[in-house]
Amino acid sequence: MTETPQKDRGLLRIDVDECKGCGLCIEACPPKAIDMSEHLNHYGYRTAVYAGAGCTGCGICFMACPEPGAITVLRAVMATAGVVPAMNTGIEGAAHA
């Protein structure tokens, strides 16, 4: 078995067709792991893009974003425990989903 590459606790998926490029998630993200794209999407908006690293899976950007599904936040499942690590997200219910 090959060694797993370095992974973050969180992962961000942004639907570039739904994103309207308002930038609220970029402002909200505590570790500043979201950038604005250089190119335009199908609709003519620059969109948010995950910087590729640094996401802690806190979920704060999700609630700052006005679009229902532009952002999906994922969190690491630990191999040993098989559970999602608990975190204080400041958002009630963040651990449900």
Binding site: E18, P66, E67, G69, L74, R75, A97
Partner: protein
């Protein structure tokens, strides 16, 4: 944490189940809302959808949407949806909750909707302590219509109707809805939250959920005011708008809980459900009567009926009853009918009038602005409406002398002292029925049986019923005597 332990990722924040998968409002980009980039409505929608998800109430939630930028709630939320007229969401929600107590009824309103045109509705719904939840999105402006001032517009804030900025001298002060409603005894929970930063958003989430949960527990009226953003009308970037909520709006509208009676509140006893439709005749005391049934096939004579009638007179002359009997008879005959009383400021004295339509076709408007038949029970009423009678029409006038200056070449007139005729029959007040008798001779097709049925339903007193029947007959005779050829 050792990175090697990370095995997989699982979704912790994603699209709420209470949103439709596709929004069919427009043909493309059906997963995107219609809101401008950065609009606070989108954020509040997500809070509400998540609360509905978490409380597991999607199948029993009814969302009452407003007029304003958030008018399309029914395109987004996969729950029961009603879209109320401007400002009326609390009244609609009241009806919904009372007739479906097991439903969770949530009103969603903007600040123009709730605090301007709908100020009375929210005040009384709160005062009655209706067991509903209201999400009040305050962006300090009318956005949908392009940025007019709202009652919540800040002092100095520019809008299209306060181009120099709001001044208290002319526009009054920003209305503090939460504080105002918190003075009432009805509400159980009122909190103002904001979308000004991450912390505020987290608190807003909790508050929205709590307000819905209060209803699930049956506690009573809850309202959450959300200081929200409108980057478009405020002419700011989404991020600047967010900061403006925290740095400026909050100065005028402090955040916090203004009323919390959730501890003392007992789950409200459910109101008795509204009576079912089949019980209504019994409650109205008309259970034993045969109600009209729509005739499957209308006779040719009935089918030809197309009446535009205006009846006018002094209050107390039976103007409205005349129209009612006519409409009720039409209904009995299987026709489409409308009866529209119009008493305006003269309700107590002076003139009153009503519009009556009978037709075998769908009635487009209940207003009769150019009647085919005018029944004028006195001279002022004649003078008010004589010009409006359509060419080829009729005037039935209560008076021997038809005023010469009201004569028209293209209108036929039956002018008789109907009050005197009724008096001679037994009571001057039966004048309206004598005139109706004459009218029925013009509107020939209406079967006598339908007229009898209508009288039977509307005239309860047997003495009066007998007199009215005589009066109708007399009216028919008088008409035939004057116009034997018609």
């Amino acid at each position: 944490m050792s990175s090697e332990l990370v095995q997989d990722y699982t979704v912790v924040q994603g699209r709420a189940k209470s949103f439709y998968e596709r929004f069919e409002r427009k043909p493309e980009l059906q997963h995107q809302t219609h809101f401008c980039p950065g609009c606070g409505h989108g954020i509040v929608h997500k809070m509400l959808a998540r609360a509905i998800d978490e409380l597991g109430i999607q199948d029993k939630t009814i969302l009452v949407g407003p007029v304003g930028c958030s008018v399309f709630t029914y395109y987004y939320f996969d729950v029961g949806n009603v879209q109320a007229a401007h400002g009326r969401a609390p009244a609609v929600a009241t009806a919904m909750k009372r007739s479906r107590p097991e439903s969770i009824v949530i009103g969603y309103q903007g600040d123009g909707d709730l605090s301007a045109i709908g100020a009375a509705e929210i005040l009384h719904a709160a005062n009655r302590g209706e067991n509903i939840t209201v999400i009040f999105v305050n962006n300090a402006i009318y956005s949908m219509t392009g940025g007019q001032a709202a009652p919540t517009t800040l002092i100095g804030q520019k809008s299209t109707t306060t181009p120099e900025g709001r001044r208290s001298l002319t526009e009054g002060y920003p209305m503090h809805v939460s504080e105002l409603l918190a003075t009432l005894q009805g509400p159980v929970y009122i909190e103002r939250v904001g979308l000004g930063d991450n912390k505020q958003i987290a608190q807003a989430n909790r508050a929205v959920r709590r307000a819905v949960e209060n209803q699930v527990k049956g506690l009573g009226f809850s309202l959450i005011e959300v200081l929200s953003t409108c980057p478009t009308i405020w002419k700011m970037s989404a991020v600047d708008a967010q900061h403006w909520v925290r740095d400026v709006m909050e100065q005028t509208f402090p955040l916090g809980v203004f009323c919390d009676r959730t501890k003392e509140a007992r789950p409200r006893r459910e109101l008795e459900a509204a009576p079912s439709l089949d019980r209504i005749p019994g409650l109205l005391g008309v259970a034993d009567q045969e109600l009209p049934e729509a005739a499957a096939t209308l006779s040719e004579a009935v089918q030809a009926i197309d009446l535009h009638v205006r009846v006018a007179g002094f209050g107390g002359q039976g103007v409205l009853l005349l129209g009612e009997v006519l409409a009720e008879a039409g209904l009995d005959a299987g026709l489409e009918v409308s009866w529209l009383p119009s008493y305006g400021p003269e309700m107590r004295s002076g003139t009153s009038n009503c519009h009556v339509r009978l037709s075998s076709q769908t009635i487009d408007s209940p207003l009769v602005t150019s009647p085919g038949i005018l029944v004028a029970m006195n001279e002022p009423s004649l003078r008010k409406f004589d010009k409006s009678v359509r060419p080829g029409g009729w005037v039935i006038y209560n008076g021997e002398e038809f005023p010469p200056d009201c004569v028209r070449e293209d209108v036929r007139v039956l002018a008789l002292p109907f009050t005197q005729v009724a008096h001679d029959l037994g009571d001057a007040r039966a004048c309206n029925m004598v005139m109706l008798g004459a009218l029925l001779e013009i509107a020939k097709g209406l079967p006598q049986a339908s007229i009898d049925a209508a009288l039977g339903r509307l005239i309860k007193n047997t003495k009066w019923l007998a007199l009215d029947e005589r009066a109708l007959t007399r009216g028919r005779e008088l008409f035939r005597g004057s116009f034997p050829e018609v």
